[in-house]
Amino acid sequence: MVLNSNSKKARIDELAERAAVQDGLDGGGIKDGEGVSLIASAWARLRRNPMFIVGAIMVALIFLVALLADVLAPHDPTVRYLADKVSRANNPVPGAEPGYPLGADDLGRDLLSRLIHGSRNTLIIAFGATGLAFFGGLVLGTLAGAFGGWIDSVVMRVVDIMLSLPSLLLAFSIAALFGRGSQTTVIVAIGIAMMPTFARLLRGSMMAQRSSDHVLAARSLGVKKSAIVFRHMLPNSLSPVLVQATMVFATSIIDAAALSFLGAGNPDDTKPEWGQMLGLAQEYFDTFPHMAVYPALCIIAAALGFTLMGESLREALDPKSRR
């Protein structure tokens, strides 16, 4: 077909191809010492990119908070310390008081501690979903990209169908499929919804690799097919997928929030998570906006951090930007 067949696919493939095509820095004389790999040189560029630094600091902070949540949080996020103060009728959300700088939620649990512990569960969801999507996509994409033929057709048709559904709707219906929401269902729902993009992206760049000269060279050397796939095609196809993964990190946090907002999130609030906190704070949007604003700000910060990292990574890995 001459026309770019389905455009979403085409676009993904194009990105994949673009990222897969490598061009180099012109090297001068051969100096002694270890060589600088592409990753190393990309890293060198990254390190100087303010966008990346800002993103990385934001992300690092969130990770730190998540790791040290037990130490940092002043209280247990599940204990209803201020339960006595809660009155749905005239004081549904207890305000700040000594020891509880942000006040409590509507069950009397310390809001600050919940936000701090929220970072952990938010990251778990983001990691879980992205990881699932990444590995699922990796397997599908590798299958399709490495073997081609009917395996490719079958895998890609399935991926196409999934792609033609809006991803949040897909996640929403997968979450609904489980009936009862939990952290796992949120992870699985978002993970599956994101999978086709990864699969397509990887397949696209694998395809570009497949007809590349260096793969042809390996073939002509008589290198085994599996070695070609795993040593040459896959590593060279990964960079767009990695960039995508960083981006999906951000979207999965937002999607988790959207799922909660739509009521398909994890209802178990003993594991606080920002999206869920934001979702559950819906009824307070106008009366106690802080209930929503704090988790929302956390989400925005996390999403922004990952997006910044992803964008700068894309720039660093995109051969076109190496001018």
């Binding site: 792609l163 559904l165 709707l169 009936g179 997006t307």
Partner: protein, 336 residues
């Protein structure tokens, strides 16, 4: 070209068929369902069984699917049980389509008219103020959850400052005449300009909220595309011909930069639908997103089924249109 369209249509039918089967089976695997949604607290096992039998839900899945398929081929897609109880699911889709189209249409227009010029300026003056502004807005657009933004916009513009209406599509007091269901269009057509204006005011906030993600994407793509095109040899040729900057911008830069942008606009359809679910919820707009959400929550499977299939179909169709538009702009793909 015709052959290409034919091929795509055939593919589309295949996809729709597979999708309908998939969704049918899938929805019926969901716990609970229409029956419990219809009965609520009044559900007793006997009554539920009775209802299930009446609705034919006690039959084996393949039989149900066959029935669904044969009915669907006759244009009957089942009856909505909750979203718009008693209506044919396709009617539900059709009555709600205009609202979503108006919303998504305005959103995409907002995104286009802001993102493309800004993207061009950002690329042209890389590192300049427009670049920073555009990148900033697009990053925020991606990082802020749509529904949160919607709520914030509403809180300020509608509730605090009373500049715009809080929710809905049109003030009922206006008693506007309905013709097509596109309220703005109807208002203009019947010369009820106040009604059109009112409908437009209702759309502003949701459309802005919905436009953020397409804005971010289109801005980024435009910027990258313009950067790419500016690097192309033919731009140098055009410069060497001494052409006016305006000619170069429109004929040479933007024409080529539009190619990836056009594709991207097609890709935004899915995102817009997703966003519509959220914004329609926040703004209580009776559109497809709202129907989708209610359909899922209340297990109105006929409606969900039709909506998902139509969403996929819309997606595929829009992308087919995009491809045709693409072919229109880019002669290289116009062959055959």
């Amino acid at each position: 070209m015709l052959r290409y369209i034919a091929r795509r249509v055939v593919q589309m039918i295949g996809v729709m068929f597979a999708l309908s089967l998939l969704i049918f089976v899938w929805l019926r695997m969901l716990p609970g369902g229409t029956v419990s949604a219809m009965l609520g607290e009044r559900a007793t096992p006997e009554r539920a069984a009775q209802l299930r039998k009446t609705l034919g839900l006690d039959q084996p899945l393949p039989v149900q699917y066959w029935k669904f398929l044969t009915n669907a081929l006759q244009g009957k897609f089942g009856v909505s049980s909750q979203v718009q109880a008693g209506s044919d699911a396709m009617d539900v889709f059709l009555t709600r389509l205009p609202a979503t189209m108006e919303l998504a249409g305005l959103a995409i227009v907002i995104a286009l008219i802001t993102a493309i010029p800004l993207g061009y300026l950002a690329a042209k003056r890389r590192g300049g103020i427009f670049d920073a502004l555009g990148i900033g807005v697009s990053l925020v657009g991606v990082a802020v959850p749509v529904f949160f933004l919607a709520v914030v916009l509403k809180q300020f513009f509608a509730v605090e400052w009373h500049l715009l209406p809080v929710s809905g599509r049109q003030s009922p007091e206006l008693e506007a005449t309905r013709v097509t269901g596109f309220f703005i269009f109807d208002g203009l057509m019947t010369r009820e300009f106040d009604a059109a204006w009112d409908a437009f005011k209702h759309l502003i906030l949701p459309a802005i909220a919905l436009a953020t993600i397409p804005f971010a994407v289109i801005f980024r793509i435009t910027r990258a595309a313009v950067l790419d095109v500016l690097d192309e040899d033919f731009i140098r040729t055009a410069e060497a011909k001494g052409l006016k900057p305006s000619t170069i911008r429109t004929r040479h830069v933007m024409r080529n930069a539009m190619l990836p942008v056009v594709t991207t606009v097609g890709l935004q359809v899915g995102g817009l639908l997703t966003g519509a679910v959220l914004t329609e919820t926040v703004f209580s707009i009776p559109g497809l997103g709202d129907a989708m959400k209610v359909g899922f929550q209340e297990r109105d499977f006929s409606v969900v089924q039709v909506l998902i299939i139509m969403a996929a179909l819309t997606y595929v169709l829009v992308n087919l249109l995009v491809d045709i538009a693409y072919a229109y702009i880019d002669p290289r793909v116009r062959i055959r």
